[in-house]
Point group: C2
Chain length 308, copies 2
């Protein structure tokens, strides 16, 4: 019985692997640093292949029990054709036919997709979004990523490039964004913006969301004000998607979501205040359930969905 | 054979009826003014019922040939439960169980929906959006309406309230909108805003998009500048949805879309300039195919989709 999936989560810093069973449980975990392999695409793919084989061996399973391999990558991925179009943080990855190359090496079906889409599949099937037909899954960090479950399925868009909530403009005269646009959501709530806001509020450089969280925990009033300001910015940026998509749920993950108690109520209040009546009362905000395992568990959903 | 549908398009000014055949052709048309019936919900529903019966009679068809009746309404409609939640421009319509009331009167299956969703069904099945899996259909007028075809189907959202593109905020400090929000797309490109811009550009009051169109046709330079400004505003407001949904097509309908030659190129250029690379090159803009018949033809799609 092909009940297991090898999940691979390629990040700019680490590559995580895991073997996932039929109820989403991770039975083997493994990881290695990306950097030694980042200089060469061929080396990285070879490392992936040997680590996949090693994971299977250490799980005690045989290949016949493996339905396939799911790989999540931080960038633009053509899921249907199995091509990695572009990875902004790993040099040399443009138009790489990863699916077919990897399939030849490991003799198992391989499916590849964008990492945020894969995380969203995990939350939708096993996590905070279980049973919800229409949801937005948002990851807040250096970048602002998102993916959409609409009518019960992952919405990919024409080129598997849907979900760029971080690049919805909030102000046409706003700051220039890395994407080429202006005043994108990410320029207000990406780490760079939130760190800069923190330093401004505290009146000293080098502040981060972590230091602000620690200060808030100790009752620092400026830090509490800071989190209100950050939450309002996040809420303002979500009004549009609430009006447009009328979702039941917004899942928030990524580092900043650890600060749930300082953020979620103000985010919710801000959206309810500014969104249309029905849409504004229809949604809830929940924290993502999975952290480190999200990409591996999502890879299980990716592979099993593709083979249904 | 139940091959025909009675389509009803309820507007604030007129109510249009038509009988539509299997390839989307309208074989009988009929219309009456809304105003005489606007004072009483019961009178309006009775008028609808008798006009539906009259249309069938004048078509020469018998009820056995009619698959059902589709009704489009300008407001918030619960498609699944068959309830009209609220019509902003026709007083007294709150929580009306129109589907069941009308079914009892005319002894035919009735389906009701929001008018913009119905127009979008018409464009998707028989019009500018034929064969396109992912599209946004936008109507520009007093209000800015929209509906979404995603993964080949109408996306309704949790409460059938999805599609409020006109109420995506473009500037958190922008003008207060009727919806309660701030800086919504509609406050920049609804008729009120476009008329005000026209008067500002021409330096005299009372200008409309119609007068500006006539002036542009005569080569008036200010009017040509005006249309560039209007198109840029429309384009700016569509960047977010292009990045978020990665659609193949944006269909534009409503009065302003008559000015295609002054608008569409600048709208497209503005989006391409500001949207992300892949998403910005993936979409096209087309003018809606249907005008007066859109609601009636869409009602045909609504009824036949529901009965598939």
């Amino acid at each position: 019985m092909k009940q297991y999936v090898v999940g691979v989560d390629v990040g700019g810093t680490n590559i995580k692997l895991g073997i996932v069973g039929p109820s989403g449980q991770v039975i083997v975990r493994n990881s290695f640093a990306t950097k030694p392999f980042a200089s060469s695409r061929i080396k990285l793919i070879s490392a992936l292949a040997s680590q996949i084989e090693a994971s299977i061996v250490s799980s005690g399973l045989i290949k016949k029990q493996i339905a396939g391999v799911g790989v999540g990558l931080p960038g633009l991925v053509d899921y249907e054709k199995g091509i990695v179009r572009f990875l902004p943080n790993i040099p040399g990855w443009r138009e790489v036919h990863l699916k077919s190359i990897l399939q030849k090496k490991i003799k198992l079906p391989v499916f590849i997709d964008n990492d945020v889409k894969i995380i969203t599949l995990a939350e939708s099937q096993f996590g905070a979004g279980r049973g919800v037909r229409n949801l937005v899954c948002l990851t807040l960090g250096t970048g602002v990523g998102a993916a959409l479950i609409l009518n019960g399925q992952l919405y990919r868009g024409e080129d598997n490039a849907a979900g760029e909530l971080g690049h919805m403009p909030l102000n046409e005269h706003g700051p220039k964004c890395n994407c080429g646009g202006f005043g994108c959501f990410e320029t207000y709530v990406g780490n760079r913006a939130l760190f800069a806001l923190a330093s401004r509020v505290m009146g000293r450089p080098g502040m981060t969301t972590e230091t602000m969280f620690a200060l808030a925990q100790k009752g620092n009033k400026k830090a509490l004000v800071y989190w209100k300001m950050a939450a309002k910015q996040i809420g303002n940026g979500l009004v549009g998607i609430v009006n447009l998509l009328n979702p039941r749920l917004i899942i928030i993950g990524g580092g900043v979501s650890n600060n749930e108690k300082y953020l979620f109520k103000t985010i919710t209040d801000t959206i309810r205040l500014r969104a249309m009546g029905l849409q504004g009362s229809a949604f809830k905000i929940k924290r993502a359930k999975f952290k480190d395992d999200a990409g591996i568990i999502g890879a299980y959903v990716l592979v099993t969905n593709a083979q249904r």
